[in-house]
Symmetry: C2
Subunit: 305 residues, 2 copies
């Protein structure tokens, strides 16, 4: 069984949307990526840090999903990273109300011996220096390093980010960020430009409008899985990356064809994620439901031109 190494935040979130307020709930990119990965036949480990306030039930939750939590460091006299945000009626816009870095401020990721030779590595959205510190601890070239990042790091740590971009195989980024990173207007041109920065593949997320994959072999366009009601989009991008990573970890090879299919699995995972506040739909997701949506996806994208 292949190994997947995930670095990302394990955190507490508080989310306000036009549909309601979440209260303080489990969140963090690492959590969402791991929960998505847990639906695949792989061994996944999360490298992260939490404070003494982090509830053991939340660690247990991940453990029950067969996620290795030995590399989630607990700093007993520190507090868990906390983020509070409010979404606009247009789900693509949100305001950050509070960001308490807490234990994340001095996060020094430690990759266990067991996972230093992982086949798939997912660098969840974090400071590029932390992502780099994880890469430095790998003892074997993985089949794929997948990078998720955001505009915040382009604004505040571009030089360090570009060094990481150069070292990865797949970059996952949203449409606005692709435009910002490339300085190009169309996503097509943006992807071409980003490919020049190092990665073999660029995945551009367009939220409800689906996603695109670009590589030397060409490109692939996938619609999103249409759902009737969005409750909370937090973690959708992380879940997408987790689904992609999980699918790739199950395959013999990382290639364009498998990335296409992985993107579809990521799409389906993300569609569940946004249907409830926080991680709750991902916690309760059944394999049967995933296959049902995969089949529905096949149906609504099939044509005979």
């Amino acid at each position: 069984m292949k190994k997947t190494l995930i670095v990302g935040t394990v955190a507490y979130d508080e989310i306000e949307t036009c549909k309601g307020s979440s209260g303080k709930i489990l969140g963090g990119a690492g959590t969402y990526i791991a929960l998505a990965c847990s639906h695949f036949k792989i061994k996944a480990s999360v490298v992260s840090v939490v404070g003494g306030d982090f509830e053991s039930t939340h660690l247990e939750l991940l453990k029950k999903k067969d996620i290795d939590i030995n590399s989630i460091e607990v700093i007993s006299n520190g507090k868990t990273f906390y983020w509070k945000g409010k979404y606009h009626k247009d789900w693509n816009k949100r305001d950050t109300l509070v960001t308490d870095l807490n234990v994340l401020a001095d996060f020094n990721p430690k990759v266990s011996e067991d996972f230093a030779a992982s086949e798939i590595v997912v660098l969840g959205n974090l400071h590029p220096a932390v992502q780099g510190a994880v890469l430095d601890q790998l003892v074997k070239t993985p089949d794929a390093i997948i990078l998720d990042t955001m505009n915040f790091w382009m604004d505040s740590a571009l030089e360090e980010l570009l060094k990481i971009v150069k070292r990865v195989d797949v970059i996952v980024i949203n449409d606005e960020e692709a435009v910002q990173l490339s300085g190009k207007e169309s996503l097509f041109l943006a992807a071409e430009e980003i490919l020049k920065l190092g990665p073999k593949y660029v995945v551009i997320k367009k939220g409800e409008h689906g996603s695109m994959l670009f590589g030397d072999e060409g490109f692939f366009v996938s619609p999103a899985f249409p759902i009737k009601e969005v409750i909370d989009p937090t973690g959708a991008g992380d879940t997408f990356a987790g689904g992609l990573a999980g699918y790739l970890s199950e395959q013999n090879e990382v290639n364009f064809e498998n990335l296409k299919n992985g993107i579809i699995y990521g799409t389906i995972m993300a569609s569940f994620c946004v249907e409830s506040f926080g991680t709750s739909s991902m916690e309760n997701l059944q394999k049967k439901e995933v296959f049902q949506r995969i089949n529905a996806f096949k149906t609504f994208t099939s044509h005979s031109v």
Copy 2:
């Protein structure tokens, strides 16, 4: 060979975009729909009205494409409908600078005997009363009546528009308009609501994000054909409807499967339309180029999940 009846404006446009200015050029929904239809093995006729200022070379252009122009009335002492608009950097936003209805103000559409029994009828974006006057002249139930409309008529002539919506088989509408017409937030719910108004099928256009088809048989999602540079989006929606209508006219039956494929042809036609100012790319489009993009579309939407 099946007959396709098109009603729509044949007009002069003047377009400003961040890429330049067009000057006064050939335009109008009827023109775009007809040009797209001309790529299929069908007999298409345009019902419209122009003024004495309308250049004969423009009528000749349509005639050379085997479009029947006998129902384009020429009012020698009148002036052709003229529209001037300016696009924002965000292509989805545009300002209308001038609208001179001219001969369109008293347009009384006359369907020729030859086309009153057409198999496919396309009601291009026009006052619903004019669209209704065309339907009243049909002597046979067509295989499909396709309606294109816009928010302008929802604001100014909703009651008349709803009467037309009830009489058509397929409504083609953009995402914002679907939300406005239905009063629902998500496109999924909007489509369900619009289906209740009468049409058997709802096609929602999302511009660069593709389109969706809804009917009793389920739904279908198509991405747009990604192009490197948009020069002028004018007429893209009309061209999409024209491609859909042209494809349907070539088929034995109007059903969900054929509508899916028709939407892909509409998508491909629209991708050419936006690559130049006005109608010029549609005027010069070769069959070979269409098939190349259809093949490319198949490639970049194929997957094996």
